[in-house]
């Protein structure tokens, strides 16, 4: 119990003094997750819009697939990305394995279905509401897409934040493709796993606290966005 209390005290000290090692891990975590979220938004938002708006054969299957992929097990994603990036894999020539780029790729694969599925639902609901009115105004499908994206902006941002939350909290995929190399690919979740197994609870707790704060901040941001949207009738 005394060790535990001391570990918490040490964790708080590390945070309060902006410990260099801790700051480096947090910084890399945020860089990787933000880059992955940006990539997932670039792929997932148009993909979600396409599935919501376009009429094509197999649309129902596409919706089923995207929704199912929201629950992708991170270790499976890690394994697939590992196989793609390993020397024997099709992308092995790029030498990306055990680099932050590999971790960004893995997290992108993991959260793109989340962004796409939530975007699809948002845009489909808006389309249902707007469809007749837009057609009555002479608005065609191509012009309707940016209208729906803009009017759904708060919900789409929420979808991206949900993806970001998943990315920051994820450990299975990044530890496989990143390797948890000190000063290179060590992020908060992989560091927590390592330090806990080593018995260095102070750093693990410090990182855990920061991760918790990030999770709470993301949820607060989502709630704030929702409240703003409802207050100004943009929801």
């Amino acid at each position: 119990m005394q060790d535990f209390t001391a570990a918490i005290g040490e964790a708080l000290r590390l945070i309060a003094t902006f410990d260099a090692n801790l700051a480096e891990i947090v910084g890399l975590s945020l860089r990787v997750s933000i880059a992955a979220t940006g990539s997932a938004a670039l792929i997932g938002l148009p993909l979600g819009a396409l599935i919501a708006i376009a009429a094509f054969r197999g649309r129902a299957f596409a919706i089923l697939l995207v929704n199912a992929l929201m629950g992708l097990p991170p270790v499976v994603v890690g394994l697939i990305v590992y196989l793609m990036l390993s020397n024997a894999g099709p992308l092995g020539g790029f030498g990306l394995l055990y680099s932050p780029t590999a971790m960004i790729i893995a997290q992108t694969v993991l959260i793109t279905p989340i962004v796409a599925a939530l975007a699809r639902q948002t845009i489909e609901d808006l389309k249902l509401e707007y469809d007749e009115q837009l057609r009555a105004l002479g608005v065609g499908p191509l012009r309707a897409v940016p209208t729906l994206l803009w009017d759904g902006r708060f919900s789409l941002l929420t979808a991206c934040l949900a993806g970001f939350g998943r990315a920051t909290a994820e450990v299975g995929a990044v530890i496989i493709v990143g390797g948890n190399i000190n000063h290179v690919t060590r992020v908060m979740t992989t560091a927590i796993a390592l330090e806990t197994s080593k018995g260095d609870l102070a750093l693990a707790l410090g990182l855990g606290l920061i991760l918790l704060v990030i999770a709470i901040a993301i949820n607060a941001l989502v709630m704030g966005l929702r409240a703003t949207a409802v207050r100004s009738a943009y929801a």
Binding site: Y130, A136, L137, G138, D151, Y234
Partner: protein, 250 residues
């Protein structure tokens, strides 16, 4: 892009007369429109009445090109409906659908969709709001307005595009008397400026106040159409007579 006639602010490309020939619409084995022939041209206000489920809303949607009939064809000024001329039909739904932006931006969006030059958006949007007495709400988020104000914005948006015809699908249902008066006033202005008006209503008082002509639908069929004075004094068909007496018409 539709051309804009600078003299009256209306888009080039006429839609009147709107003609429906042999219109049939079936869904789930039910015939909701049954062989309707109708032509809407000229001027004034045509009020469409009939019991619930008679096919009134469906008919105007078919005529506006929003729904494709199972059988029959619709023409606008002799040609098949096309998206380019859609803004010349101002369509106002029973439940106004406003975009998630300000009142002014809603109207500007419609003007952009109609191909009106961007430099004209501000002037025409403000003119439309002034006519609807909504200038003070120009920068308010459209969807926080009251039901009556939203419907007025919806009509102002339709009129801003300079339509040849304004179709209103029960625009005042569930609105208070003050909102109803404001909406009827705006519709009256449009009519007096030469816009053809088609109005669906359940309110016989409203029909008496606004109609130049009345069309009566029953079970998907257009069974009577006559000048309002004649229809309101004495409808010809037994169904219309029963409806006007306030009886439940099956």
């Amino acid at each position: 892009m539709p051309e804009v006639d600078a003299s009256n602010g209306r888009n080039a490309g006429a839609v009147l007369p709107i003609r429906g020939e042999g219109l049939v619409f079936e869904r789930g084995g039910r015939r909701l429109l049954d062989n309707i022939d109708i032509e809407i041209g000229g001027a004034g206000t045509l009020v469409v009445i009939g019991p619930n489920g008679a096919g009134k809303s469906l008919l105007v949607r078919v005529l506006a090109g929003l729904v494709v009939p199972t059988v029959g064809k619709v023409t606008w000024a002799g040609a098949a409906p096309d998206r380019r001329r859609a803004p010349r039909i101002g369509f106002v739904f029973q439940r106004p659908v406003l975009l998630r932006r300000s009142v002014l931006a809603n109207i500007a969006y419609a003007l952009a969709a109609a191909g009106v030059a961007r430099s004209e958006h501000g002037r025409r949007a403000h003119a439309a709001l002034e006519r609807a007495r909504l200038t003070h709400l120009a920068h308010a988020p459209a969807r926080v307005l009251s039901g009556g104000e939203q419907q007025l914005v919806s009509i102002a948006r339709a009129l801003a595009m300079g339509p040849e015809i304004l179709i209103l699908d029960e625009p005042t249902s569930n609105l208070d008397p003050a909102a109803t008066i404001a909406i009827e006033g705006l519709v009256g202005i449009a009519r007096s400026e030469g816009t053809r008006v088609v109005l669906i209503t359940h309110d016989l008082g409203q029909a008496r106040r606004l109609a130049d002509e009345v069309a009566f639908l029953h079970r998907g069929r257009l069974i009577e159409r006559a000048p309002s004075a004649a229809f309101l004094a004495r409808p010809e068909t037994a169904e219309a007579q029963a409806f006007m007496r306030g009886e439940i018409v099956l």
